[in-house]
Amino acid sequence: MGVIKGVLKEELENSIRMKSGYERELSKLPKGSLVKKKVKGHEYYYILLREKGKVKFIYKGKVSDEEVKKYREVKEYRAKYRKLLSQVKKQIRFLRSTLRGKESI
């Protein structure tokens, strides 16, 4: 087996493992995002999430600044992990198609 082919094969194994890793991290994050609503001049927080294709608001009432910060961080990590997961999936597709070639690389 050529050196490059061996490296690509190893990278494919790594990418597959990494895909599971990002999926696991995403599943660990709390679902939904925190949204603020103003009702009769008062501000209340809701958790906005999607369940069976339907958008759902779950009442949270008043929340601490700490919790607002936590949900903001969760939102950032979710976006980051989704982007990286998509990058890993692209790598897997690329590596699989490259390795599928019959000629030695």
Binding site: M1, V3, I4, V7, M18, G21, K80, Y81
Partner: protein, 228 residues
């Protein structure tokens, strides 16, 4: 991807430098080769194939004083913890880079990871790594410095370990990297230094280096470097 990889690698190094860990680790593996550019300035030198693995060698795992959780430190860059094997070796994974810690094997050795509780990770203990800690150089990266094994030690180490690889392609990659660095050292005029490093090695290890060079069929290198 390569530009992203390099930028991410520099970010990782910068963070480790900021928290005071970088001075306790040596960058080894294929990722130290691009940082040899400064050492080989003006010499014909082609950087070998880099994988995603960025390996940090910790010469003295028990001597680490700083208390920094590295997975947390790199979390916002997108690194996640990946466990390998039944023993639970920790790797910090990102689509562009995989960070791993290694340490020189002591005594009879063990297949268990070396815990690094102060850093929140563990290290893989491997034989012959002490060869990389004996002689280190500093390479300037942006506004800080990173420790690298001297290219002579790096090349001689590769000559030993390529013979121990199970996978043929990895063995060829290591062998090619060793030969490339040796040639660059000779072109730089470092033959005497190379001989000195070789002579300071254990006789058992010297034999392995010679066997490695014989296997590469680089007779010219062999006679040039180790002629008596």
């Amino acid at each position: 991807m390569e530009k992203n990889q390099y930028e991410l690698c520099v970010k990782v190094l910068k963070r480790l430098e900021k928290v005071g860990v970088l001075k306790d680790v040596i960058l080894i593996g294929s990722w130290c080769i691009p940082f040899y550019k400064e050492y080989f300035a003006g010499i014909k030198y082609i950087s070998a194939i880099k994988t995603r693995d960025v390996d940090f060698l910790i010469p003295n795992p028990h001597g680490i004083k700083v208390n920094v959780n590295i997975p947390e430190l790199l979390k916002d860059l997108g690194f996640i913890i990946g466990y390998r094997g039944a023993k639970g070796y920790i790797k910090l994974e990102h689509p562009d880079l995989v960070v791993e810690f290694l340490s020189p094997e002591k005594g009879r050795g063990t297949d268990k990871p070396v815990p690094l509780p102060k850093l929140g990770v563990n290290a893989v203990a491997l034989r012959f790594l002490s060869l990389l800690t004996d002689n280190v150089i500093k390479a300037k990266v942006e506004d800080f410095e990173v420790l690298l094994p001297h290219p002579a030690n790096f090349a001689l180490h590769k000559l030993i370990i390529f013979q121990r690889r199970f996978k043929e392609d990895k063995a060829i990659k290591d062998r090619n990297a060793a030969v490339e660095i040796l040639r660059a050292l000779i072109n730089k005029g470092d033959t005497t230094l190379l001989r000195h490093v070789f002579n300071s090695m254990l006789p058992k290890w010297q034999k392995k280096v010679i066997a490695g060079l014989e296997e590469t069929k680089e007779k010219e290198l062999l006679s040039l470097l180790f002629a008596k």
